[in-house]
């Protein structure tokens, strides 16, 4: 029983690995295409659009990619640890301006969130009112 369970887990891990390899290959292809065409867009952005369109058109099935994609997104943090360790090389900069940088990050983030949340709420209310008006319009005409 246990070995059957382990075999199926192994098989699933294999699927995930193959799907990650496919995503890796597609990214490499998009990077090469962007370089070749001299585009100023990152290859990964072209990749997102390409894969989305392939899924939408049905050329690629969701089940072909979703295990690998979900894994990469779930473990996203891992892949940018090496880059962030690079802050070692800028230790002098952080020692000098660390507090100021934190102030920019905290105030800036609060501003971004306030603006985004408020605008979305406003648009949502306006659209809800319009939808309600459209539904109750006959009554209002009668009332007036």
């Amino acid at each position: 029983m246990r070995s059957v369970l382990e075999a199926s887990r192994l098989k699933q891990a294999g699927f995930t690995a193959v799907q990650i390899a496919v995503l890796y290959g597609m990214t490499a292809l998009c990077n090469a295409a962007v370089r070749w065409l001299h585009l100023s867009v990152p290859g990964s952005i072209v990749g997102v659009l390409l894969v989305f369109l392939l899924l939408k058109s049905g050329v690629v099935k969701l089940s072909w990619l979703e295990r690998g994609a979900d894994f990469l997104i779930r473990e996203l943090l891992l892949f940018f640890i090496p880059s962030s360790v690079g802050v070692m090389a800028y230790a002098h900069l952080m020692k000098q301006d660390g507090l100021k940088v934190m102030a920019v990050v905290v105030v800036g983030t609060a501003l971004v969130m306030t603006v985004t949340g408020s605008v979305a709420e406003l648009v949502w209310r306006v659209r809800n009112r319009q939808a309600n008006d459209a539904r109750t319009e006959p009554n209002e005409v009668n009332a007036s």
């Binding site: 995503l23 890796y24 597609m26 490499a28 998009c30 990964s44 952005i45 990749g47 997102v48 659009l49 894969v51 989305f52 899924l55 969701l62 690998g68 994609a69 979900d70 990469l72 997104i73 996203l76 943090l77 891992l78 892949f79 940018f80 640890i81 090496p82 880059s83 962030s84 360790v85 690079g86 802050v87 070692m88 090389a89 800028y90 900069l93 301006d97 100021k100 940088v101 102030a103 920019v104 990050v105 905290v106 105030v107 800036g108 983030t109 609060a110 501003l111 971004v112 969130m113 306030t114 603006v115 985004t116 949340g117 605008v119 979305a120 709420e121 648009v123 949502w124 209310r125 659209r127």
Partner: protein, 224 residues
């Protein structure tokens, strides 16, 4: 050193994730603890960043595919985006513009170094894309990666408080607030409010990346 960098990173990441699951404190986010642990270990062992990165860059190579992987949630939740596209488009355009101009103006007000200004500007979007934008506008991608994490953690702390203060009723607005303000780290928090909030947050995060990519170069140029 060839595989040591990878092994060190994997081991620290696994240990820090385990710790975070046991002790659920925002400041113990595995990103922060792994970073601190690795930097400390490299310092103690007198290993330079260049030597570590020779090996660890094999992990960085997966950032591109991980970005492309976002096509899957985009496809899965496309109906939600379609139903609420005016909310997403307007709020994320204003949010993204606020993020870039706000960072640049604040950083200048505090007389920060120009390279820090351009590195801090794209920090509201998910890391791989923030690093690409940073490169495009003359920042240091590595520094941007650190700012992105700090932003994510700040958002998780400030977000719930702002949500109450602004009295946001709509799950779209709540989700957009987290997705735009603190990307993936915020999205995890948004799911604690509800499935719709979390879905909107992940959609906001993906769309915000596209909008910021389009807005950052011209805005930073204009603010020059």
């Amino acid at each position: 050193m060839r595989v040591l960098g990878i092994l060190l990173t994997l081991a620290c990441y696994a240990a820090c994730k385990w710790l975070y699951r046991r002790v659920h404190v925002v400041w113990l986010n595995p990103m922060i603890t792994s970073l601190v642990a690795i930097v400390a270990l490299l310092r103690i062992a007198h290993i330079s960043y260049a030597a570590y990165d020779m090996s660890a860059r094999w992990l960085t190579a997966f950032l591109g595919p991980a970005t492309v992987a976002f096509a899957v949630p985009l496809y899965r939740h496309f109906p939600v985006l379609k139903a609420h596209w005016p909310e997403f488009l307007l709020s994320l355009t204003f949010g993204s513009a606020t993020g870039i101009t706000g960072s640049v103006l604040l950083a200048r007000l505090l007389r920060l170094n120009h390279i820090v200004v351009t590195s801090v500007a794209p920090r509201s979007v998910t890391t791989p894309i923030a690093m690409d934008i940073s490169q495009a506008i003359g920042g240091i991608p590595t520094l941007t990666a650190v700012f992105v994490i700090l932003t994510g953690i700040t958002g998780v702390i400030v977000g719930p408080w702002l949500l109450r203060l602004l009295r946001l009723q709509s799950p779209v607005a709540r989700g957009a607030l987290f997705g735009m303000g603190s990307h993936g780290i915020g999205t995890a928090r948004a799911f604690e409010y509800g499935a719709m909030e979390g879905t909107c947050s992940s959609l906001a995060m993906i769309v915000a990346a596209f909008i910021t990519l389009a807005l950052a170069p011209p805005l930073v140029n204009a603010l020059g």
